[in-house]
């Protein structure tokens, strides 16, 4: 077994996960290579320190209601989707009727009509822009802004 390979496999060896076919080669190299033995000792020390990071098992009470919470939300998914779709359709219908009514009303000053048209146009552009950004954003690296 080569020196670099042994260095990389020391963790496997210490954890007892090294395949039995590689054990002999590993032991032979360790016997004659002081640098690797030293590395293994340092590894063990670091391992002890890192073992302190181990998260404890969560308490059993944590799971009370865990599944029911998931199940309820699974069922509500379709409900929310239909509700949102219906609400969007009604809002769109109401808004278009309102705009239509104001534009066709001769009593409404032209300045207000232009203002309404600008607001409607602006909202449409913003909506398209947001949808496009969301769709595009999914395709590129999503987490580059995450601070490390």
């Amino acid at each position: 077994m080569k020196h670099q390979e042994v260095l990389e496999k020391i963790p496997l060896y210490v954890a007892g996960e090294l395949p039995s076919t590689e054990l002999t080669g590993m032991k032979e190299h360790l016997e004659k290579c002081e640098a690797c033995r030293r590395e293994m000792e340092e590894f063990k020390k670091m391992e002890e320190m890192l073992e302190q990071l181990r998260l404890p098992d969560p308490p059993d009470e944590l799971w009370d209601g865990y599944w029911s919470g998931i199940f309820n939300r699974m069922e509500r998914g379709l409900g929310w989707m239909l509700f949102s779709l219906g609400a969007i359709m009604l809002l769109f219908f109401g808004f278009s009727r309102l705009v239509q009514g104001m534009l066709s009303d001769p009593g409404v000053p032209p300045m207000i009509k232009w203002g309404i048209l600008c607001i409607g146009g602006g909202l449409a552009i913003l909506l398209v822009s947001v949808i496009r950004e969301q769709l595009f954003y999914r395709k590129i690296e999503r987490y580059r802004e995450v601070r490390r």
């Binding site: 260095l7 990389e8 990071l53 181990r54 098992d57 939300r73």
Partner: protein, 174 residues
């Protein structure tokens, strides 16, 4: 994939929603700990792990039945957690107090905080492997299975991660 997982998934795909509880029960602890090791907050980890299960349920049709469930689910969960952190624009504060009832009086808070800060400063891949190994206690083979990488890649990734971590800890006097 374990037979039980396969049976559950087939039943869910056939319309038995309740069969998904078998999957949830089997993987909820791993899911919660994975989320916790990324966001470092119990409530957020609880919510995010539940959300990931719901996403997995909704995307179950895309799941390939001949592959193991957890690596697929792990990617959904990890992406959900990272997306959550991205929206908060930061990684969670590294803290050990209040880790679901852990008796923290026996351990050196400052030392652990220092180690966690160093781990958090490592590149993504290195941090992920160290998280799986030391926060959650997976074997190297399990890590290779979860990340769907050859064990050789995991070991070389781990080798350089530990080397960098050692340098960082030495700089901080540990």
């Amino acid at each position: 994939m374990p037979v039980e997982d396969r049976e559950c998934i087939i039943a869910v795909l056939a319309g038995e929603k309740e069969a998904f509880s078998g999957i949830v029960e089997r993987y909820r602890k791993r899911a919660f700990l994975t989320a916790y090791s990324i966001v470092h907050n119990e409530q957020d980890a609880y919510d995010l792990s539940q959300e990931a299960f719901i996403r997995a349920y909704r995307n179950l049709k895309k799941f390939e039945l001949d592959r193991p469930f957890f690596p697929w689910f792990y990617r959904i969960l990890k992406n959900r957690c990272l997306s959550f952190l991205r929206k908060r624009k930061q990684l969670a504060e590294v803290s050990i107090e209040g880790v679901f009832g852990l008796n923290t009086t026996e351990i050196d808070h400052d030392q652990i905080r220092l180690i966690r800060e160093c781990v958090a400063a490592l590149p993504d891949n290195a941090r992920e492997i160290l998280n799986l190994r030391y926060y959650q206690g997976y074997s190297y083979q399990e890590i290779a299975d979860i990340l769907e990488k050859p064990i050789g890649s995991v070991m070389s990734g781990l080798f350089y991660a530990r080397k960098r971590l050692k340098e960082m800890l030495q700089e901080k006097g540990l």
